[in-house]
Amino acid sequence: MKKVLILGSGALKIGEAGEFDYSGSQAVKSLKEEGIKTVLVNPNIATIQTSKLLVDTVYFLPVNSFFVEKIINKEKPDGILLSFGGQTALNCGVELYEKGVLDKNKVEVLGTPVSSIILSEDRDTFAKHLHKIGLPTPKSGAAKNIKDAIKISQSVGFPVMIRAGFALGGQGSGVAHNKKQLEEIVAHALSFAPQVLIEKYLHHYKEIEYEVVRDKYDNCITVCNMENMDPMGIHTGESIVIAPSQTLNNFEYQTLRNAAIKIARSLNIVGECNVQFALNPYPEKKLMRGDASGGVQRSASSFELERLEGAPLDERAAGPRTQNNIDYYVIEVNARLSRSSALASKATGYPLAYVAAKLALGKNLTEIKNKVTRVTQVCFEPALDYIVVKIPRWDIEKFKGAEEKIGSSMKSVGEVMGIGRMFEEAYQKAIRMLDLDFEGATSKLLLKKGESLTSLLKNPTPKRMFAIAAALKRGMSIKKINNLTGIDPWFLYRLKNIVDEERTEQSEEARLQAKQERRGKAVRSIKKALSKERLLHLKQLGFSDRKIGELVGTTGLEIRTLRKKYSIIPSVFSIDTLAGEFEAKTNYLYLTYNGNHNDVEPLKKNGVMVLGSGPYRIGSSVEFDWTSVNTAQILKKHNKKSIIINCNPETVSTDYDISDRLYFEELTFERIADIYEFENPYGVIISVGGQTPNNRAKSLKAQGFNILGTDPENIDRAEDRSRFSKLLDELDISQPAWEKVTNVKQAISFCSRVGYPVLIRPSYVLSGTLMRICHNVDDLTRFIKKAAIVSKEYPLTISKFIEDAKEIELDAVSKNGEIKASVISEHIENAGVHSGDATIVLPVQKIYVSTQRKIEEIGSKIASRLMVSGPFNIQFLAKDNQVQVIEVNLRSSRTFPFISKVTGIDLIKLSVDSFFGESTIENDSIQNVENMNFVAVKAAQFSFARLTGADPILHVEMASTGEVACFGEDLEEAFLKAELAVGGKIPKKGIFLSLGAEENKMKFLESAKMIQKLNIPIYATEKTSAFYNKNGVSVKPLFKIHEKKSPNILECFERGRVDLAVNIVDSHVKKIIDDDYAIRRAAVDHNIPLFTDIKKAELFIKAITSKKLETLPIKSWDEYLHSVVK
């Protein structure tokens, strides 16, 4: 085995996210150690796995059988790894196998055989397989059409669970309580999956998972088991998950473990697999009858004999049964690394993906050393002496119109993992880690007055965890909450503990205050209110300083002072995979108040802290993991030890070999300060983890901590709108007119002065919408009334919105105010589409040289005035050769990995260098961007299909969940590859157009003419088709959806006649009936690629008409970079 091809998972999407950067990176490392050349296919340019650091050859191309076949032809690898890139890689691998590509090219599938993967993915066959080996599955049947689905559900009995075959993250699945719901779910699932499995819905069963590792010699272990706090019916990715299981006794634990191992053996797994079970919490009720005769009480039936030798023997039968009852089902098996395996890996410290890759090469488990302890084996099962709680991060409110309900398919976009020595501690940590201003388990932030708690408990949403605390506070019984939620009372009791302690605190304080007041003096001393024992107890239960402050009527900082006076400081514990049994050389740490020693000594001035990005979310994702990881690597070159703080189990930055020290901890001020005070490091880097660490700048500086890079005072000058605006005026830099208003009258007056449209940013938001473009006064007043608060406390920021302007970005690194490197990139879409959703091009294609010069000049001015040291990013608007600044971020931006990888300029290296005296790299290695003879395009990945009801339109608010970047000889080639990589398809059946205003139809005319050359039918709404038919483009008219006449748009979508839809809307035109939303949603629901931006649509049409898929060049990253003209 000399060369191995690894398939990545592509862009981050709901159901397939950062966890596969973790698994792919570990696989690459694992193979490299064995001297194997690695070739990786993954268009996700923001990942660490696609770094020079790790992999030998990277192809930034779509992970599908078409492209991968071509790469195989070119690279001639000896083996292929399919199980490290999620469902995307697995599906691609199965296709290659079925097409005979692997056989033909003599590419060996390493690890679990493809036949087993196929078996485990076909739900019906797999259920039969499990029955054959004696394992129970819920009563079920597979259906390929609605009629069969109804038949099966009638025999299984409602409620039923519907799951789509061959789908990632439970997409398209759901619970149906009646025929109507069944029809809806099945129709949707069958639109993208060939079959559905209908099974008995196991109401309120526990959901338990095992992570199994097996080698080819049949050594088999379970690395971790996990218990979902939420019962069956809620996808494990949507559940609060606890490791290890808490409510299972030994018999249940071992029975399920045995079943998991039996499955792994029967599937001939080589590497890793994940098995999910449903476990009945009250099997006695069900099994009583069947078991009464089987279980014989031991003491009664076994015969006793006094010690009298020679006495006659009387024997009676004693059954071996121990009367242990269990009622469980196998729910799902993933014959690959999964999100759960990433979580298990972080929860235990066991490098699952690294080991799985070694096993795939044919190694024996006993041949691999434990990389974490460096003294023991990987052939063991980790023992934890802590508990972890994973909580998903949802951003459902960020999607206009999306349904809040959570269930059997994934909607969450990220997750966090809290570690503690009490459930309460780990749980409250995790809640704060979500970075949504929840101060703990009892946060009321999401609960609205007047909302029914019963309904919040019964219908799972992201609010449910807080509704439980509220219900407990109101005295609802554990039993009732258990009935409504299906959450095991064990967990509810833990939450009650938190609620009760809080209540005690409040009442004690209230009592004390009343007493003091009677005596005529107010409580001044919190010390009186809080004894040392009491404060320690609250800290052990995971309360934050701020929360305790809230409870006793003071600030978090005062509690912090008191805490330190009492010497209540958290202990630093390490995660060593074996609960302290051996002395491990681990770097994996967490803090706890349930301890009183430290496992490590501070690093002091040798250490530099790097603040990571926290949970993945809309707007902050794997790109900030890339920046964090690279920062840690470069610190080595400055002879500093890296101390990473992060709390996201899907990241590479939290891997065992990335940093010198990893604190799997909260990115709250309190925790960062605790760690800083313990480590007493050289300094802390806040500018590589996105906005979260950046937000801590001020408070950390106030503690006198050494913040490396730009002074937080200057960060504030860039972030405070008024101060920043003043600065721009001083520097004579143009900016869109803006004003902060505190009432509606002011708002209207400003808008009429500058003219519509305007961009509005409320500082307090009622619904999910944070920003909005308003086109007229009605629009403005309606928005304020509906979605925002405007008051002195919560002012609105209104700025003039410039239409048809280009958006341009400058990413740069500066040292002491002097720019060291800068790169300009260009958006395809005009301003109005969030930069995170925009298609970005390098090098710039359509920007005047004079504009570029202006941008560089402005960059220099700002960097110099703010004495910037480190990374920064400026966003510009350009129109008619005029340039305006809209935003400055004095931190690394989302595009840092894209820019660094495309240009070869390592912006992170330069940033870290700027924090220290000397430079570690020679300046001549910096490429000149102007000499690039290729084009790279970064495209956004959307996950609208997963978000029922969400409006898939591009606007000022970010909605994408991930990104890819592809290279090409020209813009069209790079863009086409990028679009194909985010799920686009070259249309073969038909194209639907709906273009809105006349001017759009005119603008698109050229594109429409190009489409005609494709010789596939064009469909359009009545007016659009009339326009085009008049202009020489043959278009078939369709009735609108609401017209309910045939042939209409919906019909056309449903019948699969269209495989590209363009829907352009003019938001300022208000229609009585809005068909556009229905069109867009129908396109997404029928898995039809959709464009809602005219410039992007035009470019796509140009690309598909000028390029042929068959002849697209297949070139690796290196081949592009080396082609740079020097």
Partner: protein, 357 residues
């Protein structure tokens, strides 16, 4: 304030959740994460104050007695980090705290059990005492014959269904289980496999010709697990020596492994802090196989007797985990093939042995 005092003078304060009775013993730790009702009733823990390193203990309460590994708590005292008194499990009949109180065993919640564990790891197993009501003297259980204390006083016979025919078609085999503190699951594992099991006390002599008994008709001997220093159980060692002379098939488990070793001329010694966990990897010699085992022992075999070879070896520290006779069906394992608690991956050892009969 309740506290535990170690023989090196260190003191750890904690909250009591068991009986308010002071106790003394040897302080040991176990890293198993599941199965405390089974562990606490394991007779091998007699005389020991047990630290459970998994911090949350009490989660599933206490089931009926028939699900335990012996009919009472065997530990001297229990140390946990976070005692949970709200079990939700359907089999729970009472809380762990109630059980400890009922059986007069102290339980202490000490937050930093990890520190305590590290101390024992670094300095080795220590004597200690839990002080609740009054001070007590240190107590070294190794100096006592603990086997005598936990062994059955009566003889029991277990068999599976009447008229049972072994699946192999062979006649039902009778095995003599010498109870040195046997976990119940050894009997269950044997009966489940069709054997007739006669459980006898540690000092029972089946070769005593002066007292012929129907009990003396058996096909093999199983020597169980049990507490303390194997060298204290001299009578059992003598019985095994006789059996060895008669070439009777023997299977030793845990303490039984050590006793077989001693009877056959090998030697044992005390480990620094023992193996007490459910994740010990054991390599089957001359094979590619490694098994995850449950272990609970403070002594180890360091000299393999003549005529025997290494059967299993610990993958972490290379210590002996099993011996097997070069030609006869005589073998023993240091780990617990009957598990409970822990993985039952090595239950096949019983099959392997019974097939040899």
């Amino acid at each position: 304030m309740a506290k535990i005092i170690l023989e090196d003078g260190s003191i750890f304060e904690g909250q009591s959740f068991g009986a308010s009775i002071s106790t003394a013993g040897e302080v040991v730790f176990s890293t198993g994460m599941v199965g405390y009702p089974e562990a606490l009733t394991d007779p091998s823990y007699l005389g020991q104050i047990l630290i459970l390193t998994y911090p949350l203990i009490g989660n599933y309460g206490v089931p009926e007695k028939k699900l335990w590994e012996s009919d009472s708590l065997k530990i001297s005292g229990l140390i946990v980090s976070n005692y949970i008194d709200t079990p939700s499990h359907f089999q729970s009949k009472r809380t762990l705290g109630e059980w400890l109180k009922d059986e007069k065993i102290p339980g202490l919640e000490i937050k930093d059990t990890r520190f305590l564990t590290q101390k024992i790891r670094a300095k080795g197993t220590m004597l200690g005492k839990i002080i609740l009501d009054k001070d007590v003297a240190f107590y070294n259980p190794d100096k006592d014959n603990l086997v005598e204390k936990v062994s059955t006083k009566k003889v029991y016979v277990h068999t599976s269904g009447v008229g049972y025919v072994h699946t192999s078609g062979k006649k039902q085999k009778t095995v003599l289980l010498i109870d040195c503190g046997a976990k119940k699951n050894i009997e269950r594992c044997l009966v489940k496999r069709g054997a007739r099991v006669i459980t006898v006390p540690w000092d029972y002599d089946p070769f005593n010709l002066q007292h012929p008994s129907p009990l003396n008709n058996f096909d093999a001997i199983i020597i169980s697990n049990g507490p303390g220093d194997p060298k204290m159980a001299e009578k059992t060692i003598n019985t095994i020596s006789k059996a060895l002379n008669k070439k009777i098939p023997i299977l030793g488990v845990c303490l039984g492994h050590q006793l077989l070793t001693l009877a056959a001329g090998g030697d044992t010694k005390k480990l620094k802090f023992g193996h007490r966990s459910q994740n010990q990897p054991c390599i089957l010699k001359n094979s590619n196989r490694c098994y995850i085992t449950t272990q609970n022992h403070g002594f180890t075999v360091h000299k393999i007797p003549k005529g025997f070879k290494t059967w299993f070896e610990n993958a972490n520290d290379g210590s002996n985990e099993g011996i097997i006779h070069e030609s006869l069906p005589i073998m023993s394992v240091q780990f617990h093939p009957e598990s409970t608690p822990g993985p039952n991956d090595t239950e096949w050892v019983f099959d392997y042995f019974l097939q040899k009969l």
